[in-house]
Symmetry: C3
Subunit: 132 residues, 3 copies
């Protein structure tokens, strides 16, 4: 059995948006008890992480990425090379197990979409559940 | 068809634990011949990698991560920001194809759980197989 | 339902190879309309990314990885530690949703295999589709 739904989120540049509640709703509507849930950010400057939604941690993460791939550096690809590079480093999708109708996240694991682009973006995130 | 099982592993801080054999056993018990196997570390300071289990390589990897996200640096998030950051960079799950009842790993690909936390931890890893 | 096929690609050291068209063909042949497609690079020095296939961006990405994990540095693991480290940072597989028989990639999202090894390699990439 497969069920999918698209979430649309407005996210500022370099910001995080928590979609845990929305993904949990989609799992309920899917009526799939056991399987795998894939969360996929459409677009080459987005990313998905599963971690703690704590503002100071997210700021630490942002600064680490700025050190790895600075937004001030000159790149060959025009305008937003660092946005693409961060997206490739983090990855634009995550897969999470579903058991007895529940997403199997730990206490400090939230699903967050990141917009690494240089401007605010409306992002489409496709949630797909496969199982039975 | 879906089958899942939880593996519990005790891992020291910054250490790796090889679970390839245990995942192969779960595949056998699942009786799923063809599909996808998701390996998911529960907790926001863990990670899963699929690579060579060679102690000197793992030490090189540890040092590279220490350079990217130092454990000695001051962060805004208290205590273990670098543990979370490493977990987000590496990712807390991996998906591996299953074909004719076998995990399709290359010769030097082992499945390892990493504990990036600042203290020793007991980690739960959920293995989910979807297929037929 | 599960369908899988192996793609073989020759890739130079540190180079990228676009397999989007081949994966789309496999989706068509699978006759799976809705599900998840896993793309898995066999071998511990390969990786899969889903991003823009633009030569200058790929060169920027290569330079960022060279900064993170230099190929000139001395490591404990002989010969190609940086190849393994880059593979673990980026990840050797990606999962992409399939909807109404189509891979749900954004406009600038291409599927590329990377060979991080120090020599040219023939790489096996396993494409597995699960769904219905």
């Amino acid at each position: 059995m497969t069920y999918s739904e698209t979430i649309e989120v407005k996210i500022k540049s370099q910001d995080f948006h928590d979609i845990t509640g929305e993904v949990e709703n989609i799992i309920r509507k899917s009526e799939i008890d056991d399987g795998i849930c894939n969360i996929f950010a459409i677009g080459a400057t987005g990313a998905i992480v599963v971690n703690e939604n704590e503002p100071m941690l997210l700021e630490d993460f942002r600064r680490t990425l700025e050190k790895i791939s600075s937004s001030k550096k000159l790149y060959q690809h025009i305008e937003n090379a660092h946005s693409h590079i961060r997206s490739m480093l983090i990855g634009n999708s995550q897969s999470i197990p579903v058991k007895e109708g529940r997403l199997m996240l730990g206490t400090w694991q939230n699903i967050m979409v990141i917009n690494f682009d240089t401007r605010n973006r409306e992002r489409e995130v496709l949630v797909t559940v496969v199982g039975d």
